[in-house]
Symmetry: C2
Subunit: 402 residues, 2 copies
C-alpha cells in the first residue's frame, strides 16, 4: 500500500512538472477534449444522425487522428487526409467500376490484383525520403481508402453515396479540428522552430561566456556553475526534431511576423552550424574535464596573460553568439557597429594575441622547463574556439540572408 | 516534353538506387501488397461478408495501419491497437450504459462530458516521454474507440454486437499482418539495431586508421581518401533512430541469436559513447581541415618521431574500435590476449611516448625557434585521441557486460 502511495505521488509530481514545463500542453489537452466534444454533440443531434447514419463516426475519427500539437502538423495531416481520401476514392471507384464491367468470375481476381499492385507501389513510394517527410500520412490513407472502396461489395450507386457521406463527414471533422486548433491559443510550429534555434545559439553563448570563469579562475566553488554550463548538451541531438518542425512549419499560413513562404530551410542550415559548434564545445568540455581530474592537485598555471587571452576569446565569442540570438529573435538587421560584429572582431584579436603570446612563451621556456606539457590546455582551447569563431561568422551570413 | 522525360528518368534512377540500397524495401512493399490482398480476398468470400457485414472493412484498415517495416514495430502497433480497442470498448460500453440509466435529457450532456474528460486526460498522458515512446499509438486508438462507442446512438445490445464484430475483425486483420510480417523474410528491429551500432563503431575505427595516412603523409593525392574518411559523419545524428529501434526491439520475441529479454538498453549506452567519440573526431577533423587550408603552402613539419607517434595512436585506437565492432558482431568475449585490449594498450603507449617527445621537444626548442606554433597540431590531436581512448575502454566495459 505504501508503494502504491509513493507511486501515485511520483506520478503526480511528474504530471505537475510536465504541465509547468510547457503549459501549452494542458491547453492542448483541453483543446482536443473540446474538439471531440463538439463533434460528438453534432453527432448527437438527431437531424444529423438521420442524414449521415453511422458514417458520422468518421468525423469523430478524423478529429482524433488529425488533431496535433502545432497548427502546421494539424494542417499537414488534415490536408493529407482530405486529399488522399478524395484521390483514392476516385481511383477506387474507377477500379471498382472497371472490375464490375468484366463478368462475375473475373471481378474478384481483378480487384485483388489492383489492390495488390497499388498497395505494393504506394508502400514503396513511402520510402522516398522526400515523400516520407511530407506525405507519409497521406500515402497511408491513400492505400487505406483505395482498398476499402475497391474491395467493398457495394453496387456503384451505393459507393457513390458512401463516398459522398465520407468526404463530407471528414470535411466536418477536419474543419472542426482545424478551427479549434487555430482559433484557441494556436501553437505555431514556425514560432517554436524560430525560438528553439535562437535558444540553442544562446545556450552555446552562455557556455562560452561562463566557461572562462569556471575553468580558469575558481575551480573550487565552481560545482554549481558547472551544472549551468551543461545546458549546451541539449543542442547536440536536435537534428530530427528540427527537421520535422521545418516540415510542419511549411504547412503553416502567414502568421505573426512570418510571411507565407518564410525561408524555413535556412533554419536547418543555421541549426546544422549550431550543432557543429556544439560538437566543438563538447570536445572542449570533455577534454578540459578529464584534464581537471588529472590535475586536481596541481592547479592549471598557464601564465596569467594567456589565461586572460583565452578567457577574452571565449567570452567575446560567447557574447557574439548571444548577440546573434538576439538578432534572430527580433529579426532586425543590426546597424553597422552594433550587433555581433564587434564581438567577433574582439575575439579574433584575442586569438591573435594568444598566438603571439605562445610565440613569446617559447622564448621564455629557456628559463622554466616545467610548464611544457601544460601548454596543451590553452592549445586545444584555441583550436576549438577558433573553429567556433569561423562558425559564428558563417552563421551571421545566414542570419543576414533571411 | 523534354523536361518530363528527364524527370521520369530521374525518378527511375532514384527508385533503382532506393531498391539497391536496401532490397528489403522491395520485399516489404510486396509483403504489404500480399497482406492486403489476403484480407480483401477474405472480404470477398460471401459467407464471411454475411457474417461481419460492413465492419469487415476494419480488417483492411487494421492491416494497412499496423503493417510496419520491422517485426518489432508491427507487433508493437498490433498489440497497442488490440489492447486499446478492447479496453476502450469496455470503458465506452460502461459509460454508455451509465448515461442511458439517467433519463433522456441528461444522457447527451453526460456523454459529452465523459468524452471531453477522457480525451483531455489521455491526450495529456501522451506527453509523458515514456508513454509516448511505447504506447503513443495505443493511447490514440483508446481515445478513438471510446469516443466512437460512447457517442454512438445505438442501443446496448447493438453496441455489444458491434464491439464483438470489431474485435474479431481487428484480430483477423492484425493476425494476417503479423503472420505475413514474421513468416516471409522478417526484418528484425533488433538485428538492425545490433548491426547499426557495430557499423558505427567500425566507421569511427576506419576514420582513425585512415586518418594518419591522409593528413600526415600524402596531402596531395589524398582527395579520394578524404572522401572515404567522411563516413563517420553519419554517426553524429542517429540518437533518435536508435531510440525508436530500441523501442521496437523490445516488442520482439526471441529470434536468432537474441534472447527474449536481450538487454537492449545497453545499446543506447554504447550508442551514446560512440556518438561522443564521433563528436571528438568531428572536432579533430574540422580543426585539421581548417589548419590544412591555412598551411597548404607550408607543409606540416612536426618532426617525424611525433608524426609517427600520432599515427600510431590513431591507427591503434582505430584497430581497437574495429576489434570491438567485430566482437559485438559475433557476440563472443575474446580470449584474453586477443580482441581489442592489446590495441588499446599500444595506443596508450603511443600516447605516453608522444608526451615524452613533447617534453624532449621543449628542450630542443633552444635550437630552432620556428616550429613553435605548429606544436598546436599534434597537441590538439593528442587531446582528442586521448579522450577517444577513454571512450574506447568504457565501451569495452559495456560490450563485455552484455
Amino acid at each position: 500500500f505504501e508503494k502504491l502511495k509513493n507511486w501515485v505521488v511520483e506520478i503526480a509530481m511528474k504530471t505537475k512538472k510536465l504541465g509547468e514545463d510547457d503549459p501549452r500542453r494542458i491547453v492542448h489537452s483541453l483543446k482536443v477534449g473540446l474538439a471531440v466534444s463538439l463533434v460528438s454533440l453534432f453527432y448527437n443531434f438527431d437531424f444529423v444522425y438521420d442524414g449521415f447514419g453511422s458514417s458520422a463516426m468518421w468525423a469523430v475519427l478524423t478529429v482524433v487522428v488529425v488533431f496535433e500539437f502545432s497548427v502546421g502538423a494539424t494542417l499537414g495531416r488534415g490536408l493529407n487526409r482530405g486529399l488522399a481520401t478524395f484521390l483514392a476514392g476516385a481511383l477506387g471507384f474507377g477500379a471498382h467500376h472497371l472490375a464490375n464491367l468484366s463478368g462475375d468470375k473475373v471481378q474478384p481476381i481483378l480487384l485483388t490484383l489492383f489492390v495488390f499492385l497499388l498497395a505494393a507501389c504506394v508502400t514503396f513510394i513511402r520510402f522516398f525520403p522526400r515523400m516520407k517527410a511530407r506525405y507519409d500520412y497521406g500515402l497511408l490513407i491513400f492505400i487505406l481508402t483505395f482498398c476499402m472502396i475497391s474491395v467493398s461489395g457495394y453496387r456503384d450507386e451505393e459507393i457513390l453515396e458512401m463516398a459522398h457521406k465520407r468526404v463530407s463527414t471528414i470535411l466536418i471533422g477536419g474543419l472542426t479540428a482545424l478551427s479549434v486548433c487555430i482559433l484557441i491559443c494556436p501553437v505555431w510550429a514556425g514560432d517554436d522552430l524560430h525560438n528553439s534555434v535562437a535558444n540553442n545559439i544562446e545556450k552555446l553563448g552562455n557556455f562560452l561566456e561562463g566557461f572562462g570563469n569556471v575553468y580558469f579562475k575558481k575551480s573550487e566553488d565552481g560545482e554549481s556553475n558547472k551544472a549551468v554550463l551543461q545546458g549546451y548538451k541539449s543542442v547536440l541531438n536536435l537534428k530530427q526534431s528540427e527537421e520535422s518542425q521545418v516540415n510542419f512549419a511549411r504547412w503553416e499560413p502567414r502568421h505573426g511576423k512570418f510571411r507565407f513562404r518564410h525561408p524555413w530551410k535556412h533554419y536547418l542550415t543555421v541549426g546544422t552550424l549550431t550543432r557543429q559548434c556544439a560538437y566543438r564545445i563538447d570536445a572542449l568540455n570533455g577534454y578540459i574535464q578529464s584534464e581537471i581530474q588529472a590535475l586536481l592537485q596541481a592547479p592549471l598555471e598557464i601564465g596569467s596573460e594567456m589565461e586572460e587571452a583565452c578567457m577574452k576569446m571565449s567570452s567575446e565569442s560567447g557574447k557574439a553568439l548571444k548577440e546573434l540570438a538576439a538578432t534572430m529573435r527580433t529579426m532586425t538587421l543590426p546597424c553597422s557597429g552594433g550587433g555581433a560584429a564587434p564581438h567577433i572582431a574582439k575575439s579574433r584579436l584575442a586569438a591573435k594575441s594568444l598566438k603571439s603570446l605562445l610565440k613569446l612563451k617559447t622564448g621564455l621556456m629557456l628559463e622554466d622547463n616545467t610548464s611544457d606539457l601544460l601548454n596543451l590546455v590553452p592549445a586545444a582551447t584555441v583550436a576549438s574556439l577558433l573553429v567556433d569563431v569561423v562558425c559564428c561568422t558563417e552563421k551571421i551570413d545566414k542570419a543576414i540572408e533571411e
